[in-house]
Amino acid sequence: MLNLLVIVMHTHLQNKPFTPTPPETDPPTDIFSEEGYTVQTPIKHPSLHTNILEPKFNGIQSDEELDLFAGKHIQPTNHTNSGALLEEEEHGDTFELNIAVTNPEKMGDGMNAFMTYKVSTQTSLPAFRSKTFSVRRRFSDFLGLYEKLLVKQSLMGCIIPPPPQKSVVGMTKVKVGKEDPSSADFVEKRRAALERYLQRVVVHPALLQDPDVQEFLEKEELPRAVNTQALSGSGFLKMINKASDAVNKMTIKMNESDNWFESKLQEVENEEQLLRRLHASFDSLVNHRKELCSSTAMFAKSVAMLGSSEENSALSRALSQLAEVEDKLEQLQQEQAFSDFFIFTELLADYVRLLGAVRGCFEQRVKAWQRWQEAQSTLQKKREAEAKLLWANKPDKLQQAKDDITEWEAKVGQSERDFERISSTLRKEVHRFEVRPETSNLLHKEKCRDFRHHIVKYLESLHRTQHRLVKCWETFLPEAKAIV
C-alpha cells in the first residue's frame, strides 16, 4: 500500500498544470513543455479568463471522491516531498513516466479517413527500450488496448480506466472534412480525453507493467484492432454479454460476508448517479450558453438591418448602435461560455465513467463468487454421485467418480482463491481510488483553499462581465435619448 502511495505521489508531482494557451505547432524539441498539456481554446480572445479548473491529471487520485475542483498542480509541500523522498530511498528505484498525446492528423480520405495522434513517452523505467519515444496511434488502438486490459485485469479485480467514448456524429463530421470550429473542437476534446486516459492507465502500477500497455506505448505498428468496431461480430457479442449480465444481476443475490463491499458499492453507485446528473446539467449549461451566443449574434444582425431601413435618422442610428451593443454582449457571452466549466464538464464525464468502471469491478467480484459457488455445487453433485455409486456398488465407475471429485476439488480451491484475490485487490484498488494520504491534512486544506480561489476567480470574471455590460449600455443610452 505504501509502495503504491509513493509511486502515485511521485508521478503526480511530475505532472504539470494544465492551462489554456493559444495553440502552437508542435515544437520539435521538448515534447513535455507546457504545450503538451494545453487545450486549444476555441475562441481566440486575448483576455481569456483563466480556466478555473486545472484538473488533476490522474483523476483517480482525488483525495475526496467528489472534490474535482481541486485539480491544480499540487505545490509539493515540504511535508509531502520529504515523505516521498524517504520512501524512494527505501525502495531504491525512481520511476517516472510522462505521457503526452499531441498532433492530431487526419489520414486517408472520405469515409475511410481517420485521425491519428502522436503518443509520446518520456521514461526512465528499465522496461522500455529507450528514454524518449513516440508512436502514432489511432482511436481504435486506444479502444483495443482497453479491451485487452479489460479481459486480463478484470479477473484480478483492478479498476481499468475507461477510454473516451465513440462518437459517430463527431467522427463523421471530421471525416467529411468540414473545416468548421465544431469539428476542431471535437478533435481537441478527444485528444485531451485520450491523454487523460493514458495518464490514468500508466499511473496504475499493475497496468504499467502489463506488456500490452508497454507494447502500445512503444511498438511502431500495432495490428488494427477490429473488434472495437461497433457493428462487428464482437460488437454484437459484447451487447449480448451485457444483456445477460444485466439479467444475472437481477436474479442472483450474493451472500455478502463482508459488509464493506456492500456499503462501498452503494456509495459508488450514489456518487455516480449524482455526478451523472451534475454532468448533464453542466452540459446543458454549456450548450445553452453557446445557443445564446449564436441567437444574440443573429439578433444583432437583424437589428442592424432594421436600423438601416429606418427612415428616421436618429432612430436609425440608435438601432445600429443597439446592434453593436448586442454584438459586444455576444462576445462577452462567448467568453463566459468558456469559463463556464467547459472543461469541467469533460472531466465530470471522465469521472462518471471511472465510477462506472469501479462498479464493473464489483460486478466482477460477484461473478467470481458465483463461479466459486457453482464449483462448490458441482463438487457436491460429484460427491453425491460417488456416494450413489458406492451404494449401488459399481466399482468400475467409481474411479471415474473419484477423479471427477479430485478435479472439482481443485477447481473449488482455485475459484475460492480467485475470489479472495479479487476481493483483496478490489479493496486495495478502491482505497487507492479514494486515497487519503496520511499527509492529507495539509494538502487538504490547501485544496479547499485552491478550490475556493477558483470560485472567487469565476465570480470575479462574472463581475467584470457585468461591469462591461454597464459600460455598453451606458454608451447606448445617449443615442437612444437623442431620438427625435
Binding site: 446539467s281 441567437s295 487538504h444 455590460l469 451606458e474 427625435v484
Partner: protein
C-alpha cells in the same frame, strides 16, 4: 384559476405609449382578469362623461373572442377604411408555460424537492408574466380606440363597453371562419395585383415602400429576439438544476460542505441575474417589436384599402369611358365614378393624417422603450455587480 389586479406596476409594463388626455371623456382600464383553464375573462371598467352612455361608471366582463368581434366589425365598417385600425390583441397563449409545467410534473421524481419548488416558482412567474402581458395588450387596444376621435364614437364599441350581458351571440362559427380565411387569401392575391397600380401621390409611394420593407425586417427582428430570450431563460433554468445537484452533493460530503454550499448560492445568484436580463429584454425589446409589427400590418392594411379604392376609381373611369362610347348608362357610370373618386380622396386624406401620426407615434414609442430598456439593464447589471461582490466577500472571509 388565477386572478391579478393591476396596480402601479402596470405603467412599467406598458411597452407602447398611448396618448391619453387627462380630460378625456372616455377612460377605460382593465383592473382585473380571471383565468379559467383556457379562457381569460377581462373586467373592463369604463368611466365616461359622454351622454351616449347610460351610466358614468360601469364594468363589464369580456372574453378574448369579444375583442376579435369588435376588431372585425371595425374593419368591416366602410367609414373607417381610411383609418389605421388598431391591431387586434393576440390570443392569450399559455401553451408554453403549460407545456413546461407538464414536463416539470413528469420529471418531478428525478429532482430534489428544492429544485422542484424553484422550477415551479419560475414557471409560475412565467405564467404570471404571460397573463399580465395579455391583459396589458387588451387594455392598450381599447385605450387606442377610446382615444381616437372616430372610434370612440363607434356604436359597436359602445355596445362592447356597455352591454352587460354576454356577447356570445356574435362569435364566429365554422362557416364564417372559413369565409374569413377565404377572404384573406383573396386579399393577399389582391395585394399582389394592386401593387402594380400606378401611385400618383409620392407620399404614399414612399410610405408603401418603406412599410413593406420595414415590416419584413421587424418581423425578422421579432423572431430573433424571441429566440434570444428563450435561450436566456433556458440558461437561467440550468443554474437552478446545478445549484440543486451541488447542494445534494455537498450534503453528503461534510468537509467541502461550506464551499459547495457557497457555490450553490452563487448559482442561485447567477440564475437570478440571467433571468432578470432575459425578462427585461423580453418586456421592452421583444414586446416593442411585436407590437409594432402588428401595427405596421394595420398600416399596410390601410394602404391596401386605399390602393383598392384607387383601383376601383380607375376601373370606374374606364367603365365611364366605355359607357360614354356606348352612350349607355352614362349617368350611372358618372355617379359611380364620382363616388369612387370621393372615396379615394377621403381615404387619401385621412390616410395621410393617420400615417404621419403613426410615424410620430412609432418613433416616440421606440425611443421610450429603448431608453427604458437601457436604464433597466444598467440598473440590473449594477445590482448584479453588488450581489456578486457580496458573494465574493463571503467566500473570501470563510
Amino acid at each position: 384559476m388565477t386572478s391579478i389586479s393591476q396596480d402601479g406596476d402596470r405603467d412599467k409594463l406598458r411597452s407602447v405609449s398611448v396618448d391619453l388626455n387627462n380630460d378625456t371623456p372616455l377612460l377605460i382600464d382593465i383592473p382585473d382578469a380571471l383565468c379559467e383553464r383556457d379562457k381569460v375573462k377581462f373586467t373592463i371598467h369604463t368611466k365616461t362623461t359622454l351622454n351616449s352612455f347610460q351610466k358614468p361608471d360601469f364594468s363589464v366582463s369580456r372574453q378574448h373572442e369579444d375583442f376579435i368581434w369588435l376588431h372585425d366589425t371595425l374593419v368591416e365598417t366602410e367609414d373607417y377604411a381610411g383609418l389605421i385600425i388598431p391591431p387586434v390583441p393576440p390570443k392569450p397563449d399559455f401553451e408554453s408555460p403549460r407545456e413546461k409545467m407538464h414536463k416539470l410534473g413528469e420529471g418531478e421524481a428525478t429532482m430534489t424537492k428544492e429544485e422542484y419548488t424553484k422550477m415551479k416558482q419560475e414557471l409560475e412567474a412565467e405564467y404570471l408574466a404571460v397573463f399580465k402581458k395579455t391583459v396589458q395588450v387588451h387594455e392598450i387596444f381599447l385605450q387606442r380606440l377610446s382615444s381616437h376621435p372616430a372610434f370612440s364614437k363607434d356604436r359597436n364599441f359602445q355596445i362592447f363597453l356597455e352591454y352587460d350581458q354576454d356577447l356570445s351571440v356574435r362569435r364566429k362559427n365554422a362557416k364564417e371562419m372559413f369565409g374569413g380565411f377565404f377572404k384573406n387569401m383573396v386579399k393577399s392575391a389582391d395585394e399582389v395585383l394592386i401593387s402594380g397600380v400606378k401611385e400618383v401621390d409620392e407620399f404614399f409611394e414612399q410610405e408603401k415602400t418603406f412599410l413593406l420593407d420595414y415590416f419584413g425586417k421587424i418581423k425578422d427582428a421579432t423572431a430573433k429576439a424571441e429566440k434570444m430570450t428563450r435561450s436566456h431563460k433556458n440558461l437561467a433554468d440550468d443554474y437552478i438544476h446545478i445549484s440543486a445537484t451541488l447542494t445534494t452533493i455537498a450534503a453528503d460530503d461534510n468537509e467541502a460542505f461550506k464551499s459547495k454550499a457557497c457555490i450553490s448560492n452563487v448559482c442561485v445568484c447567477v440564475q437570478k441575474l440571467e433571468a432578470r436580463v432575459a425578462s427585461d429584454q423580453e418586456l421592452k425589446l421583444t414586446e416593442l417589436f411585436r407590437y409594432y409589427m402588428r401595427d405596421i400590418q394595420a398600416a399596410k392594411d390601410l394602404l391596401y384599402r386605399r390602393a383598392r379604392a384607387l383601383a376601383d376609381y380607375e376601373n370606374s373611369n374606364k367603365a365611364l369611358d366605355k359607357a360614354r362610347l356606348k352612350s349607355k348608362d352614362v349617368g350611372q357610370a358618372e355617379e359611380h365614378q364620382q363616388q369612387c373618386l370621393q372615396k379615394f380622396d377621403k381615404l387619401s386624406e385621412s390616410g395621410k393624417k393617420e400615417l404621419t401620426s403613426f410615424k410620430a407615434r412609432r418613433v416616440v414609442a421606440f425611443r421610450k422603450n429603448l431608453i427604458e430598456m437601457a436604464e433597466l439593464e444598467i440598473k440590473h447589471a449594477k445590482s448584479n455587480m453588488s450581489l456578486l461582490h457580496a458573494c465574493i466577500e463571503q467566500l473570501q472571509s470563510n
